[in-house]
């Protein structure tokens, strides 16, 4: 109940600072890439099979949070300008064990384009 409207001055970002920061960021990226290329002469073995237990239970329900929407509905809510979200499973390794965690990512994220295409195909069936 503590809503407050602060009239804020627009934060002025110093262009010199931006340029300096970008330079350092790029340098760090490049250095990271270069060091990996040197380190990893040999390609690592790929161990990225999707674990079978992932497919148990409901996997592909789309979830429009805040709005009761049809799955695959891509419109955004004009009122809030908020894009709807898609629920995904994030696969992580804890030691050698695989684990999945749920997360919501925006509908328009390039990551979920693939899944959406697949879904569209399913709908056509």
């Amino acid at each position: 109940d503590d809503e407050v409207h602060v009239r804020q001055k627009v934060a002025v970002v110093d262009p010199v600072e931006v340029a300096d920061f970008d330079r350092e960021l790029r340098a760090l990226m490049q250095e990271s890439l270069d060091s990996r290329k040197l380190e990893m002469r040999n390609r690592p073995t790929i161990n990225m099979m999707l674990p079978m237990n992932l497919f148990e239970g409901p996997t592909k329900e789309h979830h429009g949070r805040g709005i009761e929407g049809e799955s695959g509905d891509e419109t955004t809510d004009e009122g809030t300008g908020e894009a709807k979200e898609v629920r995904v499973k994030v696969l992580v390794k804890r030691g050698n064990k695989q684990q999945t965690k749920q997360m919501y990512i925006p509908h328009d994220c390039s990551l979920v384009q693939g899944t959406k295409q697949k879904e569209a195909a399913e709908l056509e069936e």
């Binding site: 503590d2 809503e3 804020q8 934060a11 290329k37 690592p44 995904v88 390039s110 693939g114």
Partner: protein, 806 residues
């Protein structure tokens, strides 16, 4: 020896999250990540603040750190971000890919895993690799960006500050942002400003000023040791030993007040061992004697009276509480509402209206009927989250405050907290509020429990002792035992303390209103209390950090009562005063454009006395609630030069001189004339308690007291009963007749101490029936001279004081 809870209480140290962004303080677990470099392990948020990159990215880039771990309460739980395939933890190389057919994503490094041919044949879609850091910010769906609200309330750190602190961390990983701001030893402190970026900047400005004042106070008080003190012994009602002695004052503004701690020492002699004990001042007698209640009476030889020494025992409590309040203000976002937070810092905030049903009548039971400006004040205050009430002298601000508190308490938003910087003001308010029928608990400092109070029945310690229910009988038994024996066995003492604490809590929780001083609001006994509604009286006499103490207990609605045209807080350290510590929060809010609601009808002064202050300080808006008739004292025959104008300026040509102590001024001629005027009043039928003599210097005060009792034409006792004190100690009070002895005046400064318009205002508004001013105002006309039985010409016409407020 009994120690208060205070000494073990850590002020301003709540459960402040360890995972707060080291730059801006944001603590939302979904928004922060930990730098995973073992020597660093600092937390940062994903907001950009005032920089191009988000805080976490800023840190990683500037520190050249590359690993990150998410918070345990974030959606992914405590997770070190790493490549699913090879375990690479360099966040600058990581990105997400998704499975071709399932809603599954993994983190994969760009080099070498993403380029691996083997992957292409698998179920992964490599065409869309989504880097973890995009546009200088972590992916917002992985690490949330704090809300605008959260960002506004956070510390507003600049890119320069970030670069500086990152440099500092390389040498000292535990350095804090405050370390960047610390002034050097000889540097002038940063002055106060009107607006603050955030509560951290606020703290950076005020914390050093409070420290300066504390150091000065400590140095001054600890240098007050006095030897060769003669003691008179007595025993109090609580069977504690009381020592009476005269503690010579000097003109350094140090005033002993009840509650102060002193150490009494005896060096020992042939027949008495050396001895010492600490005690609290419980009163100051009119004979200028100090009554000290000793904590421990064992070992004291009451047959010895001479050769004692007294030291001041300095306590940092009040300063610690101010520092704690500022810390809480910055770190605990529930300390004050968002609206109040931004408002206090001078940010522009959209007006907010408190939606409360207004009462039909604005007065309160047990209080006098309110006048129009008082009703207006009560009504507007109830509808606003922050309001200022300006109460010029005698305009009934205590009654108005009590009415406001009454209506707030009736709104059912929980207990109301009522504070003022001085104990006297708190007592007055507590009494008035209690008269409305509300349940009031007055919390006194432990050191003041033995100090008598006009509202003793409302005090927490009294109620604890007198709450007569059967469950409490155990406590009563122990209390009795303690009173009789002086101390309890350690197990009984433990039991006693626990029972007492529980009873205190029970009584405090059942009150409608809690009253205490501003510093008292930081009492550990209130640590777990929350107050949405707070009223601070005399707020113009408190420093800002002092005012903050009662506010950071969860305030949503605050009323500051005071008068910025009267004297402000007393700051002893010149350096701190120069930097602006003497400016009250009320004043700063006025300068920020908050318009105080002014009470306009004064009930104290004869209309002729209110005219000059009204015109000079209140734009002529003061109206008189008393008539000339009500301020004429029948039977008093005093030679006022103009009938119906009970005031005059009595010209003194006597020379000022430096008093014997060398630090103070005195004017013998003027003192002699004070005696003459006092005698004339007494002869005309005025009684001593009606008269007050105001003088700015301790030297003159001591001289007048002494002179009157030696040379007074009437009985000595009459003169002893007349109060002679400084303007400051008369603030907030009144006398029927006031004699003002100005002492100094020189060509350049006019009338010395009255040059401060606020002091002049206070001095001129203490009298109800009449005022006489003695001084040497070279530049003024229309003054009176001559013997008292043949005064010529009258009318005070001071120069208009320089206006310092709009």
């Amino acid at each position: 020896e009994e120690t208060g809870d205070d000494e073990v209480f850590d002020y301003g140290k709540g459960d402040f999250a360890e995972h707060a962004c080291k730059y801006c303080g944001i603590t939302n677990p979904a928004c922060v990540a930990r730098c995973n470099v073992p020597s660093c392990r600092k937390w940062f948020c994903n907001s950009r603040g005032n920089t191009s990159g988000s805080h976490i990215v800023n840190h990683l880039v500037r520190a050249k750190h590359k690993e990150v771990c998410l918070h345990k309460d974030s959606p992914l739980g405590e997770t070190i971000l790493e490549c699913y395939n090879c375990g690479c933890r360099n966040v600058f190389l990581l990105g997400f890919i998704s499975a071709k057919t399932e809603s599954v994503v993994v983190l994969l490094c760009r080099e070498p895993c993403l380029g691996s041919n083997a992957l292409k044949d698998m179920n992964w879609d490599l065409s869309q690799w989504c880097p973890l850091i995009d546009d200088r910010c972590f992916l917002q769906w992985l690490l949330k960006v704090p809300s605008e609200q959260e960002q506004l309330r956070a510390r507003q750190i600049s890119a320069q500050q970030i670069n500086k602190i990152e440099e500092l961390w390389k040498a000292n990983p535990d350095a804090s942002l405050e370390d960047l701001e610390k002034p050097g030893v000889d540097e002038e402190p940063q002055p106060v400003v009107l607006k603050y970026e955030d509560a951290y900047q606020y703290q950076n400005v005020f914390a050093p000023l409070i420290k300066l004042e504390a150091d000065y106070d400590k140095m001054m008080k600890e240098s007050q040791s006095k030897d060769n003190i003669t003691v008179r012994w007595d025993i109090g009602l609580n069977k504690k030993r009381i020592a009476y002695f005269v503690f010579p004052k000097e003109d350094n503004e140090l005033r002993l007040v009840p509650g102060d701690e002193l150490r009494l020492r005896y060096p020992g002699d042939a027949s008495h061992p050396s001895w010492q004990s600490v005690g609290h001042v419980i009163k100051l007698t009119s004979q200028e004697e100090v009554a000290l209640e000793l904590r421990v009476s064992q070992g004291v030889s009451v047959d010895v009276n001479h050769g004692f020494s007294v030291d001041f025992v300095w306590k940092s409590t009040s300063f610690d509480r101010m520092q704690g309040a500022m810390k809480t203000f910055a770190l605990d976002e529930t300390s004050v509402s968002g609206y109040i937070y931004h408002h206090l810092l001078g940010h522009e905030v959209d007006m907010q209206i408190v939606r409360n049903t207004l009462p039909r009548r604005f007065g309160a039971p047990g209080l006098p009927e309110l006048n129009a400006s008082q009703v207006f004040a009560v009504k507007s205050v109830l509808q606003k989250p922050i309001s200022l009430i300006q109460g010029p002298p005698g305009t009934g601000k205590t009654v108005t405050s009590a009415a406001i508190v009454y209506h707030m308490a009736k709104q059912g938003q929980g207990q109301v907290l009522v504070c003022a910087p001085s104990n006297v003001a708190v007592d007055q308010l507590a009494e008035k509020i209690s008269a409305t029928g509300l349940k009031v608990v007055r919390i006194c400092a432990k050191s003041r429990e033995a100090v008598s109070s006009p509202v003793e029945h409302l005090t927490l310690h009294y109620q604890v002792r007198h709450l007569d229910t059967s469950e409490k009988s155990e406590l009563h038994k122990l209390q009795q035992l303690k009173d009789e024996q002086g101390e309890l066995s350690s197990s009984d003492e433990k039991k006693y303390k626990a029972l007492k604490r529980a009873t205190e809590r029970e009584i405090s929780q059942s009150a409608d209103v809690i009253c205490c001083t501003c510093v008292g609001a930081g009492d550990p006994r209130l640590a777990n209390f929350r107050f949405r509604q707070v009223l601070i009286d005399e707020s113009t006499q408190a420093t800002e950090p002092e005012c903050l103490i009662p506010l950071v207990l969860g305030v949503k609605q605050v009323v500051l009562v005071g008068d910025h045209c009267q004297l402000g807080p007393v700051i002893m350290c010149k350096k701190a005063a120069r930097a602006g510590l003497a400016q009250s929060l009320f004043e700063r809010l006025v300068l920020l454009g908050v318009k105080p609601i002014r009470l306009q009808v004064q009930y104290r002064m004869h209309p002729a006395l209110s005219e000059f202050p009204s015109n000079s300080f209140y734009e002529g808006t003061l109206q008189n609630g008393v008539t000339i008739n009500e301020r004429q004292s029948p039977g008093i025959d005093f030679p006022w030069p103009v009938p119906n104008r009970p005031m005059f300026f009595y010209v003194q040509m006597g020379q000022e001189e430096i008093s014997s102590s060398g630090t103070s001024y005195l004017n013998r001629t003027e003192a002699a004339n004070v005696e003459k005027i006092v005698t004339t009043f007494l002869k005309s039928g005025v009684v001593p308690s009606q008269i007050g003599v105001i003088t700015p210097y301790e030297g003159q005060r001591a001289y007048i007291v002494n002179y009157m009792s030696r040379n007074g034409a009437l009985r000595q006792q009459l003169y002893k009963e007349i109060e002679v004190a400084s303007v400051d100690s008369f603030q907030g009070r009144e006398k029927d007749y006031i004699i003002l002895s100005c002492v100094r005046s020189n060509e350049h400064q006019g009338i010395g101490f009255l040059n401060d318009p606020r002091r002049l205002n206070v001095a001129l508004t203490r009298a109800r029936y009449g005022i006489v001013i003695l001084g040497n105002p070279k530049e003024h006309e229309c003054l009176v001279e001559g013997p008292l039985n043949n005064l010529k010409q009258s009318m005070v016409q001071f120069q208009k004081p320089k206006k310092i407020y709009n």
